[in-house]
């Protein structure tokens, strides 16, 4: 494997949990609900997966348990939003702190203990394609799923009828309701499914990317939340954001070992966070839309489609039928 191949492969692997969590949050937000609890949920589900795999030895059970944790937290968020009409941000924030502390408390006895790794499963034939093979088809099943999920989400949201309904309950819940869509019931479903994907992201950490339980996952969930905004609620762009951030992170780590450019390690550790602020600034300040002016006439509609920054219109609001 060449240096480039192994770098790219490392990025695909390390970004997998952020991709999965990002797609889960995308699904949630497309349905009009913000689940701010990602950071804590990822920690708690990662700890759960590690704990279950140590107790039972079963990877399947570990993954399912982690997904159940994510789904349960999401259920609290959506229940408190729809049934109790509470502020989604407030509940999500309290949950993120609660889950992180719960993970640290319950995971203490299992801290830094050896865990079990997802079996490596290179795909025959495909893995021999030059460049693409080692980068995309030489992983374990969770990483494959992260790649598959991007395509699945795009197809579901833009090419199926239920996907259209999903967009409608996030954009125009009143109109969807008038057309007979059970808005709140669907929101429950999508938020819980999205939450279980976040749980899966946690399992991807402790079973594959950062093997075991080390309490150092704080921050990953916030990155996932930020790239949903950076990705402007479009699956492929959200994934792109994840690869970008993880890619820059790995370049920064490479630079650290490189004695030519001697950066203090702390400066390098700051980079993803500067990047997060800058990408959000680019995505939300409308700078991209202003670029439009300089594009050739022919490409403007295409560019506009790519840079249109529009959160789901009903994001964060509760829907009441009158």
């Amino acid at each position: 494997m060449t240096g480039l191949e192994s770098t790219l492969r490392g990025i695909v692997r390390a970004a997998a949990p952020i991709v999965i969590a990002g797609q889960g949050e995308l699904l949630t937000e497309r349905a009009g609900v913000i689940n701010l609890s990602l950071d804590g949920t990822i920690m708690l589900s990662a700890m759960t997966a590690h704990l279950v795999v140590r107790e039972t030895g079963s990877l399947v059970q570990a993954v399912l348990a982690a997904m159940a944790v994510g789904a349960a937290v999401a259920l609290i968020v959506v229940f408190s939003s729809i049934a109790l009409k509470l502020n989604q941000v407030a509940v999500g924030f309290v949950l993120t702190i609660l889950c992180a502390d719960l993970a640290i408390f319950l995971g203490k006895p299992h801290f830094n203990q050896p865990g079990k790794e997802m079996p490596h499963m290179p795909i025959p034939l495909l893995k021999d394609i030059p460049l693409l093979g080692p980068v995309l088809f030489n992983h374990n099943i969770l990483i494959y799923f992260s790649l598959f999920l991007i395509v699945l989400m795009w197809f579901y949201i833009y090419r199926t009828r239920p996907g259209l309904t999903l967009r409608s309950i996030g954009e125009q819940p009143e109109a969807a309701f008038v057309r007979g869509t059970p808005v709140n019931a669907l929101r429950y479903v999508y938020v819980v499914v999205g939450g279980s994907l976040v749980g899966l992201a946690g399992a991807t950490y402790s079973l594959s990317v950062k093997l075991g339980w080390k309490e150092d996952l704080s921050g990953e969930g916030w990155i996932a939340l930020a790239i949903v905004i950076f990705g402007l609620w479009v699956p492929a762009r959200v994934a792109l954001g994840a690869y970008l951030i993880v890619g820059l992170r790995s370049i920064a780590i490479d630079l650290q070992g490189n004695k030519v450019i001697d950066l203090p390690s702390q400066i390098v550790n700051m980079l993803p966070w500067f990047l997060m602020i800058i990408t959000l600034l680019v995505a939300t300040s409308g700078a991209l839309t202003r670029l439009d002016r300089y594009a050739p006439e022919r490409f403007r509609p295409m560019m506009r489609r790519f840079t249109r920054a529009a959160p789901p219109r009903a994001l964060g609001t509760t829907f009441e039928k009158h």
Binding site: S80, L98, F105, M270, S285
Partner: protein, 393 residues
């Protein structure tokens, strides 16, 4: 006029009774919330094999039993309280200042910088050779300014760049923490030469806060400043027009703006004030008589704790001191809880359990208030339908 018959006021005892009936769910909601949270924690304790009564005894013993313990607890309470007061302003204005943790750290760094400039350096700027009072005053000024500036970064990103303050706050927290580590670890500029500990040297005598005669770890200065901050916040919230503006834009930023409130300027003001109070909390933490150095965790998580305090107090300036007191007791008690069970009962019970309890209380109380609004709506929230009737007749 169906509404008039429905709204006929009951007289005398009837009215009092109705009033009590209305009030009851509001009083019971937090009660049920706290009870549910305690129940969850008792279940966790039983499951871990710890006696809840013993656990409470440890918490009590570690915080309230003796005067010395109470003094230690107050020393923890003051930075938590002043941070919460600042957050009352930000949250009232609808600003999710999650960056408060970073603002505390930057405040701590600012105070340390002032110590280095004016107390440790042989040639202080402007040739100022100050006594202890002057140096400490500058420490607090530096800390407040540093915290305010750090908060303004998030505020400007919000007003100018449309970046949500939650995300910029999270990023700025991590940046502040990494910057702190850069200063004091691996031969960083503020680490004493030859030292391997991730902290600065202890501050010189003339940069240490005065402490009480019999309680060496508690400084009266922090108490005075915190009371001052409380008065400022209470005046803003209950007396000034600015407080009213903050409330208005917290409820609905767009309407407030259309009614002539300068919302962007208020965002900057509320964030700067909140940041300066968080910065002072950072100064309390590093200048505390038993610390007097910049450590790897100058904030110790009190920023997030203060957010929980403000959420639980539902942004009431009057309730905040009490709620932060309870949380300070729990946090300090957690240390004794962990060591007590480890030594006396040979049981590993991490102190993060009290943080679980704190966030569970907040979650349960928030949910209980939601349930109360849903199932026992307060009278003022009901007449939406009646208003419609009135309009039509």
């Amino acid at each position: 006029m169906a509404s008039s018959t429905r709204q006929r006021l009951p007289s005398g005892a009837g009215m009092t009774w109705r009033y009590v009936l209305d009030l009851l769910p509001a009083i019971l909601a937090p009660f049920f919330g706290i009870a549910a949270a305690l129940l969850i924690i008792v279940l966790i304790l039983e499951w871990q094999g710890a006696d809840p009564q013993v656990a409470w005894n440890y918490v009590y013993e570690g915080t309230l039993e003796s005067a010395a313990k109470r003094a230690d607890m107050v020393a923890f309470w003051m930075p938590l309280a002043i941070t919460s007061f600042g957050l009352v302003l930000a949250y009232t204005a609808g600003l999710w200042n999650i960056g408060v943790e970073g603002q505390i750290m930057i405040g701590a760094i600012g105070a340390t910088w002032a110590v280095r400039l004016f107390a440790e350096s042989s040639s202080p700027p402007l040739g100022l050779r100050l006594g202890r009072d002057g140096i400490l005053f500058l420490c607090f000024v530096f800390a407040a300014l540093a915290g305010a500036l750090w908060a303004l970064v998030a505020a400007v990103l919000k007003t100018r760049g449309g970046v949500n303050e939650i995300f910029s706050g999270v990023a700025l927290n991590f940046i502040a923490q990494t910057f702190n580590m850069y200063l004091i670890s691996n031969g960083g500029p503020w680490q004493p030469p030859g030292s391997r500990a991730t902290e600065t040297a202890r501050f010189p005598e003339n940069a240490r806060l005065p402490s009480f005669e019999e309680y060496r770890r508690l400084s009266p200065t922090t108490i005075y400043i915190t009371i001052g901050a409380f008065v400022v916040v209470a005046l803003i919230m209950y007396v000034s027009r600015w407080g009213l503006q903050l409330r208005a834009q917290g409820k609905n930023r767009k309407s407030a703006f259309l009614l002539g409130v300068r919302t962007d300027r208020n965002v900057l003001g509320a964030m700067a004030l909140c940041g300066s109070m968080a910065g002072l909390a950072g100064a309390f933490r590093v200048l505390a008589p038993d610390v007097t150095k910049l450590t790897a965790t100058p904030s110790g998580g009190i920023g997030f704790l203060a957010i929980l305090v403000v959420l639980l107090a539902s942004m009431s300036a009057i309730l905040t001191p009490f709620v932060s007191f309870v949380f300070a007791v729990l946090s300090k008690g957690g240390q004794r809880l962990e060591s007590g069970f480890q030594w006396d009962h040979d049981l590993l019970l991490d102190r993060s359990l009290v943080r679980v309890l704190q966030s569970t209380i907040v979650l349960m109380v928030v949910l209980a208030f939601g349930a109360r609004n849903r199932f026992f709506p307060p009278r003022s929230a009901q007449p939406a339908v009646d208003d419609d009737d009135v309009d039509r007749t």
